[in-house]
Symmetry: C2
Subunit: 187 residues, 2 copies
């Protein structure tokens, strides 16, 4: 469901191929929604059947042909209708294997757990760095053009990434401290 509306939302700006959409996905939406190429193709043909999209094959020399998808008026309407109606309870779909493992981690040596937390912090620091770069890019776009609503709103999602990564890092540091205290107490 959500995926189809994402695709419609992206196609409002310009027609794209399934491949284009996946590429765009990877560098934006991917931070809070994932989809495989095969899933995107399936969704696109479903949306075409529903009349929300049209497609046009574009010949290319020396390259495989492009199948460009265009959004229809009905598609635009469906997208905006979805966007306006926020469902009751929103938030993350909360599947986190790290937490599942941590829940059972009393059966693991504490030294191993500290190691996994250190790795987790490194990963999060890396993610934080990526968010900062994206934020800078959006900042300069916003500075150049005050009326750039799109960049302004997208920036809010990036800010969330920054808050999130920082919060995860400070939590993980707290955990390492507590486990370290536990280890030294048990010696």
């Amino acid at each position: 469901m959500t995926l189809s509306f994402i695709l419609l939302g992206l196609l409002i700006d310009r027609p794209m191929t399934g491949y284009d959409l996946k590429t765009f996905f990877n560098s934006s939406i991917n931070f809070f929604w994932s989809a495989e190429l095969s899933q995107i193709y399936r969704e696109l043909s479903r949306l075409e059947k529903q009349g929300y999209l049209n497609s046009k094959v574009e010949q290319q020399e020396g390259r495989p042909n492009k199948k460009l998808y265009y959004i229809t008026e009905a598609g635009k309407k469906a997208f905006l209708g979805w966007l306006e109606k926020f469902p009751e309870r929103l938030g993350s779909e909360s599947k986190n294997e790290f937490l599942v493992r941590l829940f059972f981690s009393s059966r693991l040596p504490d030294e191993d757990l500290v190691f996994h937390f250190r790795k987790y912090i490194k990963d999060m620091e890396n993610e934080l760095g990526i968010y900062r770069i994206i934020e800078e890019r959006l900042n300069s776009r916003i500075a150049k053009d005050i009326g750039c609503r799109e960049a302004f709103h997208q920036r809010l999602t990036v800010r969330r990434g920054i808050h999130y990564a920082q919060s995860e890092i400070s939590w993980a540091r707290e955990c390492i401290e507590e486990i370290t205290r536990l280890i030294s107490r048990n010696k």
Copy 2:
């Protein structure tokens, strides 16, 4: 995959029915992994076929019979093997419809967006309250029995919930401020 290991992990402590597992799930694991009853039943019969579980039907008067699942030695081994091998990249499975909507929200009136953020903050404050209650319960269990490893490790997952909810709230407040500034600038 993860679900089967969760079920095995829970059945190490004591035999349970599918229904028991779902009940337990709802008040613990559910904060970072979700599963429907029908999915749990399917997974249980799969795990039995694989030899990781045995089942025994227990007669009850005036109630439907209970089908209790017991973990086998092979099941324990499989669970511990999974727990020891942390995969390369872990973290949340990052599906967040709120962020998807926010990404496209430049097409929405800013006043509506502020409304959604306020609702989001309320939801998160509520979640935070739940985590604090659970933390208190675990704290007193840990205080009574210093060697209570299980409660100590489970508490770390609750601490994450607290960090997370606080971080979401402070992010959402930041967003409201920025949007409010944007609204007054455009007047």
